[in-house]
Symmetry: C2
Subunit: 311 residues, 2 copies
């Protein structure tokens, strides 16, 4: 235990004053930077004053879930007061929603790699313009599980593509570019410890497959298009399981790649809404799904509280 | 003119009683179909009663823009009454918003190929379960132009990928599958005629490049990551222009591929918010951008009104 404590302190000092960096030399020469999809601009908003104290950014697909999260975190950190409201910082647009309390920013990202990528480009620039340092970014989301009891939480070891490679491939100026999808191993372990502290639900560390489609792209049989059989689907999902994949979602690879490229400590924590080996449809009762969706929030809320506690 | 009229009638009779079809034999065997991201299910909602009369589906990224559109179309078609409200049919979720008036359905799809693909899988199944026939689907969106005055509207001839191929490539069960991105040529011409009728803004028919990213994927210099120069960017955009590409957005290829695979007549109508040869940032005043965004709505509203007018 003492040894772990020392390691954590070393990590802490390593992260001290680690400023958010861009991987783009052009931005420094811009007089104004319009973050169009946030409806924020460096010429109309004081980013250092608004966001300079941010240390934790939590992102998730659904805007209403990210509002629920900021309220939950405010309470957990003792920063909420009766009647407090959490105005949407991006109220000038309906592309994304953003909320803040103390050192925690909560941002929605919609569904899929392109949608979260737009948000991350603008988020990382926001943190850079604000002069933020030592920021941890965690995606809290939903996913389909492979061989796990529904409601289990998966902390991502590696984000993999639909061919089970730990890579994010995209096209830049017409040419294929491949980036690694490394996530912070120490952070994943810290989050796993938090789940042990809570002891409320099953949590595993496993690989996460990130696809560009929810239906055919994840081997579902219930989309508008499908050209394969149940047997083909089972073979694919079993091969994924053999590659260490425990859940499937649609944002982790670009999230890992972009955070890694900009030196941000990052993790992905997703609850599984169903076991894909047993079916495709998400048909559990609303209350059950709603409780599942709170699990990554409770886990990450606990992590933030623990991180901020005096040593 | 008489000849054109005859051609239109032949087209009309060709489309008569053309039922919406799925390209998936499994759905017919399902007892219940939960359209999870719409928060609708065949066991709790009467799809034929709710949607059986739909003939036009308009889709766009932003939920608030799709609400604006349904109000506009209701007025144009003489179906609005003072105090009318348009409840969100998908109010059980915040993934997508859906509105209906008469034969027109208006649905938001978020940003990017994965987001619109999820919506289209569930939309096409919705139309199938409802027994709809002769449905036209039009995406009304925003885009970056290439060599066009901002505010110009582009009707897509062909949707192309970031390598200028008229293809949509995706991964199914770990294997690359390529689909064509054909759109209805006759419908594109009809829409162009509608723009001539209106005579309010410049409209062209051109190719549309569909990318998986807004920043690096479209050659922007202002993202959090960028590894190329202004010169590289200009060369890429000029090559796109030489391939007949007049605008860039993030949904048209999968939209064209899925509608075509399911026999739906489809078109893409996007306004250009800036000329990408001259810059990357969308920094026009809010009122100017708001007026631009109404242009595809006015064009498509006119088209629907004209299509429904007695011969």
């Amino acid at each position: 235990m003492a040894a772990t404590g020392t390691e954590t302190k070393d990590l802490d000092s390593h992260h001290k004053n680690r400023l958010v960096q861009l991987s783009n030399p052009h931005v420094a020469n811009m007089k104004e930077d319009v973050l169009y999809h946030f409806s924020l601009s460096t010429s109309t908003h004081d980013f250092p004053a608004m966001f300079g104290d941010v240390k934790f950014v939590c992102v998730g697909g659904s805007p209403s879930r990210m509002l629920t999260f900021i309220k939950y975190v405010a309470k957990e950190l003792g920063l909420s007061h009766p009647g407090d409201e959490y105005p949407n910082i991006c109220s000038g647009t309906d592309r994304y929603a953003m909320y803040k309390v103390g050192p925690v920013l909560s941002v929605s990202h919609g569904m899929g790699i392109p949608s979260i990528a737009i948000m991350l480009h603008e988020l990382i620039k926001l943190l850079f313009h604000a002069g933020c340092s030592n920021v941890t970014v965690i995606r809290i989301g939903t996913s389909g599980g492979i061989g796990l009891e529904p409601g289990s939480v998966v902390i991502t070891r590696q984000a993999m593509d639909a061919c089970f490679n730990p890579e994010f491939e995209h096209i830049v100026l017409g040419k294929r570019v491949v980036r690694s999808t490394d996530l912070d191993e120490g952070l994943a372990q810290e989050l796993l410890h938090c789940s042990t502290d809570l002891s409320e639900f099953t949590t595993v560390v496993g690989n996460t497959m990130c696809t560009l489609d929810f239906y055919e792209g994840q081997g579902r049989l219930d989309g508008a298009l499908c050209t394969y059989t149940e047997k083909d689907k089972q073979a694919y999902l079993q091969a994924a399981h053999a590659a260490g994949i425990r859940n499937i979602e649609m944002e982790s690879s670009v999230f890992a790649a972009m955070c890694s490229a900009c030196g941000l400590r990052a993790a992905v924590v997703c609850v599984t809404l169903l076991d894909r080996l047993l079916g495709d449809q998400i048909s559990s009762p609303h209350e059950v799904l709603a409780e599942y969706q709170q699990r990554p929030q409770r886990l990450v809320g606990h992590f933030i509280k623990k991180s901020l506690a005096p040593a």
